[in-house]
C-alpha cells in the first residue's frame, strides 16, 4: 500500500472546477513531483491532502494516507495529522514564519503540541532539528527572530518546523522559488537528505522542470486540473510522449530564434557606448545604534565600471543581495551613487535635477519583475502605458495618447481593446507585455529589465523572451537584464557581468562566461543552476 494514494480526486470551488479525476501516489522514501503552470491545480492538490481548502470547496474521490480516507476525516483528526504525519513547506519563507516569535519557539510549538513533550524536551529536540537543517545553535541561537535571518536560513527554519516530528509525508509547495540558485541547490540537497534519512514521502510541487528532473523519482504533469502524463521522472522528461510535456520542456530551454541568428560575437563594438558606468559606489548608512551613533555603512555597490554599446543586450547576474538591483536603480537615476559617474549618450546623469534628467529618461525605461506590483491597480491600461509620455517636451493630446498607447500595445502583441481595462483583468504574461509596452512607448534606447520573466510560467516566459528579442532586433533597444536565472541570460543576452558582494567579478561574452566560468562566484552560479539537459543526462546515466 502506498503512503499517499489519491484516487479520482475532483475538486470544485463554488461553481469553478479546479481538479478533475486526479490520480497520484507517493511511496515511502519516494520523491514525487507535481508539475504544472500556474492555475493548473498543483497547490490545490496539496491543500486537499492537508484539508486546508477554502469553505466553498467540494471534493469527490479518495485521498488515502496509509489507507485512511482524509476527505472523510474530521477536522479534529486532521489537526493531529497536520504537522505530525504530514508536514508542509511553503513557498514564501518571508511570510511563512511568525515575525513576533523566535525561531526556537516556532519549531518547539509543534513538538510540544503533538508529542506532548515537556518544555525542556521540546527545546532539546528543537536544537537537534535546527542543527540538522544547517542552523547550529552556536551560530543561530533559538532566540533569533525571523527578521534576523536571510531568506535561505528562514526556509531552513520552515523545513525544520515541517520535519521536526519526522512526518511520513512532506509536502513542499515551490520551496525554492523565492530563493536564488545557490540557495535553491542547498535547500534541495537538504530536502533530499531528509527524505533519505527518515524515509519520508515527498510531494514536491514545482513549475521548474530542471529542478524536478534533478530531484524526483516520479513525476505527474498537471494542466487545467487534469493529469496529462505521469511516470518515472527522467523517462517522462526525456521521452516526452505527451505533446504538453514536450511543449513544457521546449519552453523551459527556449532560445528566441532571432537571437540565435544574429548574436553578437565580439565584446568590442565600433559604435560609441550608450551607457558608461565608472567607479560607481553606493553606501547605505548603517543601522542607528543610538541617537547619535550609527553602525558602519553597508557598501551595496563597490567600484563598478562597465559600458553598454547601443543595441547590445547585457545580463547582470548574481546571487540575491549582491547589489544587482541597487546598481540598476542608479543606472535609472532612481538612486544617487555615493561616488562614481554614470554617463548616458555621452552626458553625465550624476547630480542632475529631475528636469535636467527628462531627456535621458525618455531614452531609458524599465521593466520590473512582478507583473502584479508594477501597475497602479486603480488606473486603466491606457493611463498606465502612457505614463512615460510625461517625459515628452510637448504633452500629447488625449487622442494622441490613445493612439500611441494602442501602437505600443500592438508592438507587444495586444489589441486596442486592452486600453480601457484594468491591470487585474489580465494574466501574468499579458501584464508583463503591458509593462513592456509602457517601457517602449517613448522609443527608448536602453531598457533595464529587473528579473522580467522570473515570475512567469515557462511557456509564457518563452513568449516574453521572444518579444524582448524581437524588440531588440526591430527597434535596436539595448538591454540591461538583471537575472539570477542563467537560462534566461543564455537565451537573450550577448554579454554577461557577474556580481558578487557589490563588485563585478567577471565579464565577457555570454556563452564564454557560462560555459567556462573563471571567477568563484560565476562557477558557483553555473554549478548550482538547474539545467534540464544536464540533469536528465545524469539521471539516465545513473539508471544505465
Amino acid at each position: 500500500m502506498s503512503l499517499l494514494e489519491i484516487e479520482n480526486l475532483s475538486l470544485s470551488i463554488g461553481a469553478v472546477p479546479v481538479l478533475s479525476d486526479v490520480d497520484l501516489s507517493v511511496e515511502q522514501g519516494e520523491i514525487v513531483a507535481l508539475v504544472g503552470e500556474s492555475g493548473s491545480g498543483k497547490s490545490m492538490t496539496a491543500l486537499t491532502v492537508m484539508q486546508l481548502l477554502p469553505h466553498a470547496a467540494r471534493t469527490s474521490g479518495r485521498v488515502l494516507l496509509d489507507g485512511a480516507n482524509l476527505l472523510e476525516a474530521s477536522e479534529e483528526h486532521m489537526c493531529t495529522l497536520r504537522g505530525d504525519d504530514i508536514g508542509m513547506v511553503f513557498q514564501e519563507p518571508m511570510t511563512a514564519l511568525n515575525p513576533l516569535k523566535t525561531i526556537g519557539e516556532q519549531v518547539a510549538e509543534g513538538i510540544r503540541w503533538h508529542a506532548r513533550a515537556s518544555r525542556a524536551e521540546a527545546e532539546e529536540r528543537t536544537r537537534r532539528i535546527l542543527d540538522r537543517v544547517g542552523l547550529p545553535e552556536a551560530k543561530f541561537p533559538l532566540s533569533r527572530y525571523p527578521h534576523e535571518l536571510s531568506g535561505g536560513q528562514r526556509q531552513r527554519v520552515v523545513i525544520a518546523i515541517a520535519c521536526a516530528l519526522k512526518p511520513r509525508l512532506l509536502i513542499a509547495d515551490e520551496p525554492t522559488t523565492a530563493l536564488d540558485v545557490v540557495l535553491q541547490a542547498q535547500v534541495l540537497d537538504l530536502l533530499r537528505d531528509l527524505v533519505a534519512e527518515n524515509r519520508m514521502g515527498l510531494l514536491l510541487i514545482s513549475h521548474d522542470l530542471a529542478v524536478v528532473a534533478d530531484m524526483a523519482d516520479r513525476i505527474t504533469i498537471l494542466r487545467n486540473g487534469q493529469v496529462m502524463e505521469d511516470g518515472e521522472a527522467a523517462q517522462v522528461l526525456s521521452v516526452r510522449t505527451h505533446p504538453y510535456t514536450r511543449q513544457l520542456a521546449q519552453a523551459s530551454t527556449h532560445v528566441p530564434e532571432i537571437r540565435a541568428a544574429a548574436a553578437h560575437n565580439t565584446l568590442d563594438s565600433p559604435q560609441a557606448p550608450l551607457l558608461v558606468v565608472q567607479n560607481l559606489t553606493r553606501d547605505y548608512p548603517g543601522r542607528r545604534l543610538s541617537l547619535l551613533r550609527r553602525g558602519a555603512p553597508t557598501r551595496a555597490v563597490d567600484d563598478v565600471s562597465f559600458s553598454i554599446a547601443p543595441g547590445r543586450s547585457v545580463a547582470l547576474v548574481g546571487r540575491s543581495g549582491c547589489g544587482k538591483s541597487t546598481l540598476a536603480r542608479m543606472v535609472l537615476a532612481l538612486d544617487r551613487p555615493t561616488a562614481g559617474e554614470i554617463r548616458f549618450r555621452g552626458e553625465t546623469l550624476t547630480g542632475r535635477s529631475e528636469v535636467e534628467l527628462k531627456p535621458a529618461r525618455r531614452d531609458m525605461q524599465v521593466v520590473f519583475q512582478d507583473p502584479y506590483g508594477s501597475f497602479d491597480p486603480r488606473q486603466k491600461v491606457v493611463k498606465l502605458v502612457t505614463e512615460p509620455l510625461h517625459l515628452l517636451e510637448k504633452s500629447p493630446s488625449r487622442a494622441e495618447r490613445r493612439d500611441m498607447a494602442a501602437a505600443a500595445l500592438a508592438e507587444v502583441g495586444l489589441g486596442p481593446d486592452a486600453l480601457d481595462r484594468y491591470p487585474h483583468e489580465f494574466s501574468g504574461g499579458q501584464r508583463q507585455r503591458i509593462s513592456i509596452a509602457r517601457a517602449i512607448i517613448t522609443r527608448p534606447r536602453l531598457v533595464v529589465a529587473d528579473e522580467p520573466v522570473s515570475a512567469l510560467d515557462v511557456s509564457i516566459r518563452a513568449q516574453i523572451l521572444d518579444l524582448f528579442a524581437d524588440l531588440n532586433a526591430r527597434l535596436g533597444i539595448a538591454y540591461l537584464f538583471i537575472t539570477h536565472d542563467l537560462t534566461v541570460a543564455r537565451a537573450i543576452t550577448d554579454e554577461v557581468m557577474v556580481m558578487e558582494e557589490g563588485r563585478v567579478v567577471e565579464r565577457g561574452l555570454t556563452h564564454a562566461v557560462l560555459d567556462n566560468p573563471q571567477s568563484g562566484a560565476a562557477q558557483e552560479l553555473v554549478s548550482a543552476a538547474p539545467d534540464l539537459k544536464r540533469a536528465l543526462e545524469r539521471r539516465l546515466r545513473e539508471q544505465g
Binding site: R329, L332, L334, E354, L357, K358, R361, M364, Q365, V366, F368, Q369, D370, G373, S374, F375, D376, P377, R378, Q379, L384, E387, P388, H390, L391, Y422, H424, E425, R438
Partner: protein, 273 residues
C-alpha cells in the same frame, strides 16, 4: 448605473439623504416649537400626539431631533473636513519627504494627539467663548493628527511599490506621484477613517454640549439630548432611545456610504458587482 447596482452605496445614500432632508426640513417646519417649554406635558411617553414623547421640559423629542440634526451633522462634518483638509496633506507630505522633516511633523502631530480634545476645546472656549463654531474648531483640530497618521501610514506602504518606481522612471515628481498614485490608493482607508471620525465628532459635540461648551440652549443637539436623558433613563427611557437611534442610524448611513464609495473606487470590486 454602476453606482445603483452597489447595494451598500444605495442604502448609504438613502439614509444619509433622509437625515440631511430632515435637518433641512427643520428650518421650515417642525411638529412643535422646540424653544417653547410646556411643563405640563413633561416626560410624556411616545403617543400619537408626541411621536417620540417629550422631555423633562415638555418639548417634543421628534422636533428636537429634527432641529438637533442640523447642529450635530454640521459640527461633525465640518470637523471631519478640517481634519482631512489639513491632516491628509500633512501626512502625505511627511511620507513623501521622509527623514528629519517627517520625524518633526509626526512628533508635532503626537503632541496635538496627546492633548485631549475636550481639554483643547475648553482652552479654545476659554479664549473665544463657548459656541458651536468654537466646538467645531476644537474637534477639527483633534481630527488633524488622526488623518495625518492614517494618510502617512497608507502612503508609506504605497511608496515602495514598483509602480511608484515606474512612475519615477517616467520622470514624475513627488507631488504628481502623490496626487496620481498615492492618494487614490489610500482613499479607501481615508474614507473609512472619515466615517469613524464623523461618528466620533457627533459624540464629541455631545460631550462639549454637555459641558456647556458646544451648542448653547435653547438650541438642541443630539448629544445634549442624550446627556439630559442620562439621569432619567428609568422614568423616561424614550428620551435617550430616540436621539441615540438618530445617531446610530446616521453613522450607519455614513458608514455604508463610505463603504460604497470605497467599492466604487476599487476597480476590482467594481467588476464583481
Amino acid at each position: 448605473m454602476k453606482a445603483l447596482a452597489n447595494r451598500s452605496l444605495l442604502a448609504g445614500c438613502l439614509i444619509t439623504a433622509l437625515v440631511a432632508l430632515m435637518a433641512l426640513a427643520s428650518f421650515l417646519w417642525t411638529p412643535y416649537d422646540v424653544t417653547k417649554l410646556v411643563v405640563a406635558d413633561r416626560t410624556q411617553a411616545p403617543s400619537l400626539i408626541h411621536w417620540f414623547g417629550t422631555d423633562h421640559f415638555g418639548r417634543d423629542i421628534a422636533s428636537m431631533i429634527m432641529v438637533g440634526a442640523r447642529n450635530s451633522i454640521a459640527v461633525a462634518l465640518v470637523a471631519v473636513g478640517i481634519g482631512m483638509g489639513i491632516g491628509v496633506p500633512l501626512g502625505l507630505f511627511a511620507a513623501a519627504r521622509g527623514g528629519l522633516l517627517d520625524e518633526a511633523l509626526m512628533r508635532l502631530n503626537d503632541l496635538v494627539f496627546a492633548f485631549p480634545a475636550l481639554l483643547s476645546a475648553i482652552m479654545i472656549t476659554a479664549i473665544f467663548g463657548p459656541g458651536a463654531i468654537n466646538a467645531i474648531i476644537a474637534i477639527g483640530i483633534f481630527n488633524v493628527p488622526v488623518f495625518a497618521r492614517v494618510a502617512r501610514a497608507g502612503a508609506l506602504s504605497v511608496w515602495p511599490r514598483e509602480f511608484i518606481l515606474a512612475a519615477r522612471a517616467a520622470g514624475k515628481g513627488q507631488t504628481l506621484i502623490t496626487v496620481e498614485h498615492i492618494l487614490p490608493n489610500i482613499a479607501n482607508q481615508l474614507l473609512v477613517q472619515g466615517t469613524i471620525q464623523f461618528a466620533l465628532g457627533i459624540l464629541a459635540e455631545a460631550g462639549l454640549s454637555y459641558l456647556g461648551l458646544g451648542a448653547q440652549p435653547p438650541m438642541p443637539s443630539w448629544g445634549r439630548m442624550l446627556f439630559d436623558a442620562q439621569t432619567r433613563m428609568t422614568i423616561a427611557p424614550w428620551m435617550a432611545l430616540f436621539p441615540g437611534m438618530a445617531i446610530v442610524i446616521t453613522v450607519l448611513g455614513l458608514n455604508l456610504l463610505g463603504d460604497g464609495i470605497a467599492d466604487l473606487l476599487d476597480p476590482k470590486s467594481r467588476r464583481r458587482r
